[in-house]
């Protein structure tokens, strides 16, 4: 049921690692190449990475069946060790943005906000929020203010709507 929420706009995870290390894992290529893929047997290769405010990166994920996926990322905010905001796009190997190959209705942009919270010396809470859009700075601000007011921005009405969708 929870995996079928209409707008599950956040994933919250706890990691048994210091906050700085978790942040580094998201922002340093020597770490990223080792884990940034959705299943064991994949390979990840960052061909360029300038992970700073306004910077970009380009990486390739090779699936176990050999299928290659290129992802181009624009970093809006890189605030060590607490916050990372980026837009990610499907691209080709040159970093040109392309529509999602097999899912034509998939929007080109994924706007993600990651918040790193220190729970103890070796425990870190990561909140991963995403939005289907390409925000302007104004929208970004609106988004953040809504978030603090309404939790993850989507309330009880969405639960209701989801129940309805389930019943269709």
């Amino acid at each position: 049921m929870s995996t079928d929420k209409i707008i599950p706009s956040e994933i919250i995870r706890e990691f048994n690692a210091p906050r700085q290390l978790v942040f580094d894992a998201w922002t340093q290529v020597k770490h990223l190449n080792n884990w940034m893929f959705p299943m064991a047997g994949c390979k990840c290769e960052f061909v360029s990475a300038n992970i700073i405010d306004g910077g970009t990166s380009l990486h390739k994920v090779t699936m176990p069946n050999g299928h290659e996926m290129w992802l181009y990322t624009k970093y809006e905010k890189v605030v060590a060790p607490e916050k990372l905001v980026f837009l990610q796009y499907f691209s080709n190997k040159n970093g040109d943005i392309v529509p999602m190959p097999h899912i034509p209705n998939w929007p080109r942009d994924m706007f993600a906000t990651l918040l790193f919270e220190e729970l103890s010396d070796d425990k870190t809470k990561l909140t991963f929020l995403w939005e289907p859009r390409n925000p302007t700075p104004e929208e970004l601000q609106a988004f953040e203010s809504t978030r603090s007011e309404h939790g993850n921005g989507w309330g009880a009405g969405m639960e209701q709507l989801n129940s309805y969708l389930e019943s269709l």
Binding site: P132, R133, H150
Partner: protein
């Protein structure tokens, strides 16, 4: 294919936080503009402006009854959003599993004095 364009517009339409608030409210029940204004406390033009965007992408439909116009959600139009979210959740959920494994691995290697 007009379908493709419309679907893409839905994503932009719900990208605006105010419109999501309207969707949430209308998901609970059908309402007039004035009823919405009472609940969300924004100006009537603001509510109308956002409603018209939602109407354009067919997330919201309009029904006239006498002097009143009632607005309601067309939930089936939100399906592409649900699918998109679901796929991203699966993708990133699995990717976070990889991160978890990796963090455990490098810490065991680096600081095995704890054990």
């Amino acid at each position: 294919m007009p379908r493709l364009k419309t679907t893409h517009d839905i994503f932009s339409a719900i990208g605006e936080p105010k419109r999501r608030v309207l969707i949430e409210q209308l998901a609970l029940k059908e309402m007039t503009v004035n009823e919405l204004v009472d609940i969300v406390k924004w100006s009537q033009p603001t509510v109308s402006k956002h409603l018209s965007v939602l109407k354009k992408v067919r997330i919201v439909s309009e029904r006239k009854e006498g002097r009143y116009r009632f607005y309601r959600i067309q939930p089936e139009e939100l399906r592409p959003i649900q699918e998109w979210m679901h796929q991203l959740e699966k993708y990133w959920g699995s990717t976070m599993d990889q991160l978890d494994n990796y963090l455990n691995l490098i810490q065991v290697k680096g600081t095995d004095s704890e054990h």
